[in-house]
């Protein structure tokens, strides 16, 4: 789209929103911060001579995702490859190096670790408290920040609270009655997200930071000069889809380019010497659309943009060796760090890098301009050349130690207890002990959702399938194995390995059968008359061996038959399953969107795409059940092998010394065949008698 057209569109928009513009203007002028750490006490404006030169280093963090510490809360272990506490060291060094700097964050800041979940969901941060992430950013003296898509993950009331805002949106009280809570002590800008209620931007669209810089006069002598730096923020418009449950009907987005064209002249008119775009999006040079997720490429072409701090894609820019498609587009210089000539930086994610744009500035007596040739751009890693990492800034950990320790305690807290060892050693041959609880949790969750939100569907049978994700491919330790006793959050990761979200699909009886036929590829075709040993398990992955574990759904798998003809006597509550019957089946996003290439599962059967993780749903289910028992959660078999007498042995491999697990599961047809199966993977060979 050409600029001419966009201007026409924004003119129309301006006319439509005539009432809003004045409000926005007032907002913009109000929020020029007065107390930035750079200081703006002097008023030497009149004395800056033409020919004065200066530099201004823009320091960028992006996609920090609440990685304050260099710590992995899942493993409960240090991880020096990430963390704001190490970026803070780079920030200090950059401030030593550059006489003038501004520290700016790109967004995706307040969500992403167990710490963020703890403060948002487990023990919500009080109004008087500052979020741990913002606490350390305040201490670091940030000058400004943008807003990313993940800021919306916990909903608008939470975002309003923790940013110290008073959003004027449906679902929140009138702003005048809201308390301004503790939050960041730096301006946060977001120009393209608007309140449906007021048609005004949700945050201030831009801010003008006044910075007193040390410069060099034409005579070579140091001078100080005031510099007004306008910052304007953009978030991906797709937040309306991604966080629909929080945002639908409450906020809307405008295209990045139209928004920039509207506000940048206004910022200039208010005296901004420089315009710094904080765009939470990567580069995409396909035809411009107001809905495009990564609008930064097109933003670079908007008149008046002096520099861009970008993010969202979790990548490094500039990087001469980058093979990432978005950094190999025409107009993108991945060595110098420019996009259509505009100095641009993306500082990776999780506090692995600090972005640095050192702008070379020249004053001509009336205005400042950027000398692009003299400007340098870098993404600085917290990893040294020798693969070690820079030391952490100790003040960061100290500032949030209480929150950090509380999060660790939360992760370690038992969520329930089990009276049996939950393992997947014999899941392939019928033990539902580690799968049934997942199915029960998923089915209950979907049933509850549908009952509340889509009652017409809730009247259908709501079932669930899951698979033994860990089934020995990687050897004897590649099985789910949770000891009897207390269950903690990290045990849930063993019971549900993948970071999936719950999806529910609506399928008919034939589609259920086709689903199970595909899952039954897990087995080789067994020839009953063959006298030699036959391996039962095929190369079809265990993670695709979906199964029901419910007394209601019953079927046989006849391994003597070829693929596609193995499911026998499929019944639901005793009646044969037919095409005329419909079912809701709880599964995960991977399967529902076509993972494993199951027939009929192509993304169109989904009736509920939940934002909640299967693992979190499992945790909630266990918490509610408190006591997990074999009788209630681990012995409902939906399927059995069709009985057949074989002339030779039918064998399979599983963990060494695990026969008792089969016995405990009530599998009476398994015996140990060889203590070592010969594959050198710490596995034994077991025999299954298919006639029993």
């Amino acid at each position: 789209m050409s600029h001419r057209i966009s201007r026409l569109q924004s003119a129309t928009l301006a006319a439509l929103l005539a009432g809003t513009v004045a409000i926005v203007a007032a907002c913009g002028s109000d929020d020029s911060p007065t107390n930035n750490n750079g200081g703006n006490g002097g008023t030497p404006a009149a004395t800056v001579p033409a020919g004065t030169k200066a530099t201004l280093a823009l320091l960028e963090t992006t996609d920090l995702h609440t990685n304050v510490r260099s710590y992995d809360y899942f493993k409960l272990a240090d991880d020096p490859s990430l963390g704001f506490e190490r970026v803070a060291t780079l920030i200090k060094a950059a401030r030593q190096e550059f006489p003038n700097s501004l520290l700016l964050d790109n967004g995706d800041t307040i969500q992403g670790t167990a710490l963020s979940d703890y403060q948002a969901l487990v023990k919500p941060v009080a109004c008087s408290e500052t979020l741990a992430m913002y606490k350390v950013m305040n201490a670091a003296g940030y000058d400004g920040g943008g807003i990313g898509n993940h800021e919306f993950n916990y909903g608008l009331p939470y975002l309003s609270q923790v940013t110290g805002s008073r959003f004027n949106v449906d679902g929140l009280p009138e702003p005048g009655t809201q308390t301004v809570c503790a939050g960041p002590k730096f301006p946060q800008v977001l120009a393209n997200v608007y309140s449906v209620k007021t048609r005004a931007p949700l945050f201030q669209p831009y801010a003008i930071l006044t910075k007193t810089v040390t410069a060099t006069g034409p005579d070579g002598k140091p001078v100080t000069a005031p510099l007004k730096v306008g910052i304007i923020g953009f978030a991906p418009p797709a937040i309306l889809s991604w966080d629909k449950r929080w945002l639908d009907g409450k906020v809307y987005t405008e295209g990045a380019v139209e928004t920039a064209q509207k506000y940048i002249p206004e910022m200039r008119a208010k005296g901004a010497d420089l315009i710094v775009v904080i765009s939470h999006g990567g580069l995409d040079n396909s035809t411009y659309s107001p809905d495009m997720e990564n609008g930064s490429y097109h933003l670079s072409k908007v008149a008046g943009v002096d520099a861009m701090l970008i993010g969202h894609s979790h990548q490094i820019f500039p990087d001469a060796t980058s093979t990432v498609p978005q950094f190999n587009l025409p107009g993108v210089d991945k060595v110098k760090g420019t996009v259509n000539g505009v100095p641009t930086v993306m500082a990776n994610y999780w506090g692995k890098h600090l972005g640095v744009i050192n702008l070379a500035l020249a004053y001509d007596g009336s205005k400042w301009s950027v000398d692009r040739a003299g400007t340098t751009v870098q993404a600085r890693s917290i990893q040294n050349a020798d693969k070690t990492y820079v030391a952490a800034d100790a003040s960061v950990a100290a500032a949030i130690d209480t929150e950090h320790q509380a999060t660790i305690q939360y992760v370690k807290t038992p969520i329930g207890a089990t009276n049996y060892r939950m393992s997947s050693y014999f899941a392939d041959v019928g033990d539902p002990g580690a799968i049934q609880i997942v199915n029960m949790a998923q089915a209950q969750y979907v049933k509850d959702y549908l009952t509340a939100n889509q009652p017409a569907l809730a009247s259908l049978p709501v079932l669930s399938v899951s698979a033994p994700f860990k089934s020995g491919f990687g050897g004897g330790s590649d099985y789910t194995d949770v000891s009897a006793g207390n269950l903690a959050i990290n045990n849930a990761a063993d019971l549900y390995l993948y970071p999936n979200t719950v999806y529910a699909v609506k399928v008919n009886g034939d589609e259920v059968k086709a689903w199970l036929e595909t899952a039954a590829k897990r087995f080789n075709q067994i020839n009953p008359v063959l006298a030699t040993d036959q391996q039962l398990i095929s190369s079809f992955p265990g993670y695709n061996f979906d199964m029901f574990t419910s007394v209601d759904m019953q079927y046989e798998i006849d391994v003597t038959q070829p693929v596609g003809s193995r499911i026998k006597n499929l019944t639901y509550q005793g009646a044969p399953v037919t095409a005329a019957m419909s079912f809701i089946v709880a599964t995960n996003n991977y399967r529902a969107s076509g993972g494993g290439n199951f027939p009929g599962l192509d993304g169109t059967k989904t009736v509920y795409a939940s934002p909640d993780a299967n693992r979190d749903v499992l945790i909630a289910y266990i918490k509610n059940a408190a006591n997990v028992t074999r009788a209630a959660h681990g012995n409902a078999r939906s399927w059995r092998f069709t009985p057949v007498t074989t002339a030779g042995k039918v064998v399979f491999s599983s963990g060494v010394g695990m026969l008792q697990q089969a016995v405990d599961a009530g599998l009476t047809n398994i015996t140990l065949d060889k203590a070592d199966d010969g594959a050198n993977k710490n596995l034994s060979q077991y025999k299954i008698d298919l006639s029993l």
């Binding site: 057209i5 991604w242 809307y252 035809t287 659309s289 993948y498 996003n589 192509d602």
Partner: protein, 269 residues
């Protein structure tokens, strides 16, 4: 993909129908707005500007429930402008109440009859997924509309047409045809089409089995933050599938990216 609305102001099939009476009315409106500016470039410029304006009204009417934007769309639709009819129809069809939806469907049919690719796509998808005002799938109509839009180059329509072929919805399954249409959609940037195409190459469905191509398409989808594609790659690195060497670091990295992408997955058209 509302992007298509903006990206392709007047698709070729529409341009060829310049003589259609309804389109002529739209042309008059555009010409009046152009205030006498002549020439093909100027015409195209103003047509694009008009398209952007309609798209903006549609956005405001949909996302912000803006009554004024909706009435502007309605006036333009009443005046016979095909693109306005498509935009109004799409807006109304997305509303929860039956009356609006039936009205939306009516406008979309009028627009489709005048050759609107967008209207064909919206009607085709809704027919396939049971999102018409009757809330029941109408597979013959889905085929008709999606074929019309896909043949005019609409990547989203090519994606759904690929699904119709793959699943044999309303006709016999046709795996090679599914691959052809999914390829059109994938090349048009639809991440979910890339993923299904990768599955087809992996399992040799409709094409010869080809792990390298499968991997390429999984990676293309992963680049667009398709969670299942990232997960498929993660598991391939864990288990040494798709001809990839086992690589625990790559497994962990792809799985972490899959988890992250679930919060902002690639959107289907």
């Amino acid at each position: 993909m509302t992007a298509a609305t903006v990206a392709a102001p007047f698709p070729p099939s529409v341009r060829r129908r310049r003589a259609h009476p309804l389109f002529a009315a739209a042309l008059v409106a555009v010409t009046v707005a152009a205030a006498g500016v002549a020439g093909a470039a100027a015409w195209r410029h103003h047509a694009e500007a008009r398209q952007a304006e309609l798209a903006q009204w549609q956005r405001m009417a949909s996302m912000a429930a803006d009554a004024d934007a909706l009435s502007r769309l309605a006036r333009a639709a009443d005046a016979g402008e095909t693109a306005a009819r498509a935009a109004l129809g799409e807006t109304l069809l997305a509303r929860p109440d039956a009356l609006s939806r039936a009205d939306g469907e009516r406008w979309l049919r009028l627009a489709a009859d005048s050759g609107s690719v967008r209207a064909h796509f919206v009607l085709g998808k809704a027919s396939m997924l049971g999102q018409l005002s009757v809330r029941q799938p109408d597979l013959p109509r889905a085929w008709t509309h999606l074929e019309a839009a896909a043949r005019a180059g609409d990547a989203g329509a090519a994606y759904y047409l690929g699904l119709l072929c793959r699943g044999g919805y309303g006709r016999a399954p046709d795996a090679p045809a599914a691959v052809r249409w999914l390829t059109v959609a994938a090349e048009g940037g639809v991440a979910q089409a890339m993923f299904l195409l990768a599955n087809a190459y992996r399992d040799g469905e409709g094409v010869p089995r080809d792990d390298a191509r499968a991997t390429d398409w999984y990676e293309a989808a992963a680049e667009r933050e398709h969670p299942a594609a990232l997960q498929a790659l993660a598991m391939a690195y864990l288990n040494g599938e798709l001809g990839l060497a086992r690589d625990d670091k790559a497994y962990r990295q792809h799985m972490a990216e899959a988890a992250h992408a679930l919060r902002h997955p690639a959107l289907t058209p």
